[in-house]
């Protein structure tokens, strides 16, 4: 059975993943959405996402990222959680939290990752789950 794709919504009502996607080049946005669709159709543990969907490790363990390169070798990342039975969700869901972009050969700061995790913790603490509707 496939999974649903949902966007996390902050308490203030903004939808960071959508804002991020809106700011991406069209080709990057389309590729990221196609990866999400593929993973939703064949969720883990199946191989899915064409190599652009990866589990994260270390401090980001438990999170997943969609990894797409864009024009000028810029790197785009969309951060997600898997929620199998969250309160208020009818089906297992891929929760799209937010995104980041960086120039080639650079790293995201720990603070940037911490902000992603803060989104994730906010989502996981919401009952029912706070998603864009």
């Amino acid at each position: 059975m496939g999974w649903r794709i949902v966007y996390y919504q902050s308490e203030g009502g903004d939808v960071p993943a959508e804002a991020f996607l809106d700011g991406c080049p069209t080709a990057v946005e389309a590729k990221m959405e196609a990866v999400l669709s593929a993973v939703a159709e064949a969720p883990p543990p199946s191989f899915s996402g064409g190599g652009m969907w990866e589990a994260m490790h270390g401090a980001m363990s438990g999170y997943f990222e969609v990894r797409v390169n864009g024009p000028g070798r810029e790197h785009f990342r969309l951060f997600c959680l898997l929620d199998r039975d969250g309160p208020g969700l009818d089906e297992p869901a891929i929760v799209v939290l937010t995104g980041l972009r960086k120039p080639n050969a650079t790293k995201f700061s720990e603070a940037a990752y911490a902000r992603v995790r803060a989104r994730g913790e906010d989502y996981k603490g919401s009952v029912p789950r706070r998603i864009a509707t």
Binding site: T26, V39, S46, G51, D90, I131
Partner: protein, 107 residues
């Protein structure tokens, strides 16, 4: 009653109205489907051969965790690793040109 989970579906449907987005999305879908199909076929061949992932890893001199992560899409597959897996499973990776007619239409 559950939460309305269709927000993303509606957004995607709206974005698909943009021809440039649709073309990129469909192209990405085709590329993703090909990679996923290769990985799933190799995993199916592994099962048909009765080999565990650990056994396959030994056959290609890789860490068992590497092969496990590879088949569960936790890491991006490298072509040389895929070729080694295919070799260990007595299979070939093949690139098949699309039909001449399709190429002419595309041109």
């Amino acid at each position: 009653m559950g939460v309305d989970m269709s927000y993303r579906d509606r957004r995607l449907a709206t974005r698909m109205d943009d021809p440039a987005f649709r073309a990129e999305y469909e192209s990405a879908q085709r590329q993703i489907a090909q990679i996923d199909a290769v990985m799933r076929r190799l995993d199916a061949l592994r099962e048909e051969a009765g080999k565990s992932k650990a056994q396959l890893a030994r056959d290609i001199d890789k860490n068992p965790a590497t092969v496990r992560r590879l088949f569960s899409s936790e890491v991006n597959p490298e072509l040389k690793t895929l070729v080694a897996i295919a070799e260990a499973l007595d299979a070939d990776l093949v690139v098949k040109p699309r039909s001449r007619r399709r190429k002419r239409v595309a041109a």
